[in-house]
Amino acid sequence: MSNVQPMTLPDRAWLRAPAWALRGRVMRQVAAQELRDALLSWPWYVAAAVGLLLAVLLIYNSLNFIATSKLLIMSRPFYLPLLTIATLAMLYVIAWSILAIARPRDQGALRVLFFAPVDPAGLLGGHLLAGIAIYGLMLVLTTPLLVVLALLTNLPFPPLLLVGAAITPVFALVAVALGLFISSIASTSRSAMFVFIAVVLLVVGVQGGYRALLSVPPTSTYYDALLFLRTLLRAINAGLDWVSPIALLSGGLDAALRASWSDLLLRAGAALVGGGVWLWLAIWGLGRRGVLP
């Protein structure tokens, strides 16, 4: 091999490159690659299309309601459509992040990735950035179409809703970090999905159970017996409002529409803290569980 260049072996100083510099490099590379992979696969487009379809159906429903009830003023006709799109986008990034670590680990690809100077913090940081970008791009693609629909239907689209939409990636941070945590600690990708489904069922169960208990009339013979359970579920529900990414999203959009900036900031702060805690737990979990299948 005559055209081979002389080897440039790394010196000791190069080997001691600061960890943050290496992590920053890994985060950039991983985020760019994951974003590209997501945009080149069909599930992202399916999620965006389904979200848009549901939003259009909701707007169509609103128009029908206006026509039949002779309603002259309708507040927030685009709150629910936007919330639906954002919720679907969030569910997509949760599912994506749940498989982000567990699936390549099952396949052995994560081990190969860790042959390079990669550590859990850099890898998960890159996935977090990618997840937020994937969510944000879905909103960027679909929200202008809602604005177009607003112009076509003459329904009001308050600019405050756009402010709310712009803030929602902060709430997606919680969703992605939570998904990464589940992915990091799960033994396989299948068990990661089971844990995710179990968490969703638990949250839905708590909310549904609380609503069911609220409907029990005070005259019922079970009313007193169920009082403790109702109080407990109410407390859990109140806690979920500050932990669940979808509850934070819903509350955040609502706060933006009401121009309640303190509430919005409070929710954004809760999302940042929650996202940070889940990310830290994910880094710890990946360190504990390891990268080998």
């Binding site: 080997l15 490159a17 390549p104 042959f115 390079a116 100077p117």
Partner: protein, 312 residues
């Protein structure tokens, strides 16, 4: 380059690696041999900080390896059996992605050289997941070499390759070694190790039985030397004189060829050739029958394990 001190890895009741003391010197090719389940891959995982040892110490590039360290991997290239690839990356993009992780600023020239050399240039824009096993293995080798590492760790580097591919990879590793790189190669294909390794370590049931050069290994195992001597003609009385020599243990004749078993004295062969010349014989060819690495490996890892461990 790599030093391990009493490196031990225990999985619950199974002892995967036991008190391993490895010494890989800078610039050498170190062959790491062992039967399936001997602990070779576990050792490599510990060297790369992918799994933590139960006890013991690892020194890489002269510095102790601490849990969580990862910067040292900038100077290491690793080839292992390639997993199934599910990403949307082409072979070219995958190597570029890893070059980015290693911090290589302008990898294109180096990548082109390696892709051409391993015959992947024409398929570089194909999806990596559609590559055959051999092509994935070549891609793994390109990925490991793209950043010009100081140390190359190879775990079964030629598995899945055809003879032409094996030759290409062998030449690539040889060139890398010639340019100052250190190679730590774990393989079941003993002929590959025999051909290239400067020193060899044999691992069995988690224990390093022997660490030596191939010549040294043969010396440990070979009590007697076998010699095949081809003569122009066999002079009268030569066989009788050879049989009476103290250093000749066994003798047989096949036409002009004499097969002799000599005792393990360093000057036995020279004394033999002198005796033949004194008897008027003309030696056309003298060949000593050496123990192959395969024979040495089987001998070491067979029934005499405990005894040989004492020798080592």
């Amino acid at each position: 380059m790599i030093t391990t001190e009493d490196l031990t890895k225990r999985y619950k009741s199974h002892l995967a690696v036991e008190s391993l003391n490895l010494h890989v010197r800078p610039g050498e090719i170190y062959g790491f041999l062992g039967p399936n389940g001997a602990g070779k891959t576990t050792t490599i995982h510990m060297l790369l900080n992918l799994t933590q040892p139960t006890s013991g110490r690892i020194m890489l590039f002269g510095e102790p390896l601490a849990p969580g360290d990862f910067h040292f991997k900038c100077a290491i290239g690793v080839v292992a059996e390639e997993p199934f690839e599910s990403s949307q990356m082409t072979g070219w993009e995958m190597v570029r992605f890893f070059a980015g992780l290693y911090g290589v600023d302008a990898p294109t020239r180096r990548m082109e050289e390696l892709f051409r050399r391993l015959d992947l240039w024409d398929v570089r824009h194909g999806l990596a997941r559609d590559y055959s096993r051999g092509m994935r293995q070549k891609l793994s080798i390109i990925r490991a070499l793209v950043h010009e590492p100081k140390l190359l760790i190879l775990d079964e580097p030629v598995s899945g390759l055809d003879p032409h591919g094996i030759r290409q990879v062998r030449e690539l590793i040889h060139d890398y070694h010639q340019r100052g790189g250190t190679v730590f190669i774990s393989s079941h294909i003993l002929s590959e190790i025999e051909r290239s390794a400067d020193r060899i370590g044999i691992l069995h049931q988690g224990r390093l039985l022997v660490e030596d050069t191939l010549v040294g290994l043969r010396g440990r195992l070979t009590q007697n030397q076998k010699c095949i001597i081809e003569l122009e003609s066999v002079p009268d009385g030569l066989l009788a004189r050879l049989k009476s020599a103290s250093y000749v243990l066994d003798l047989s004749q096949e036409g002009r060829q004499i097969n002799a078993t000599l005792c393990a004295q360093p000057d036995a062969r020279s004394r033999l050739s002198r005796l033949i010349a004194e008897a008027g014989g003309v030696i056309l060819k003298m060949q000593s029958e050496e123990m192959s690495l395969e024979e040495a490996f089987v001998t070491i890892t067979s029934q005499n394990v405990v005894q040989l461990a004492g020798v080592a």
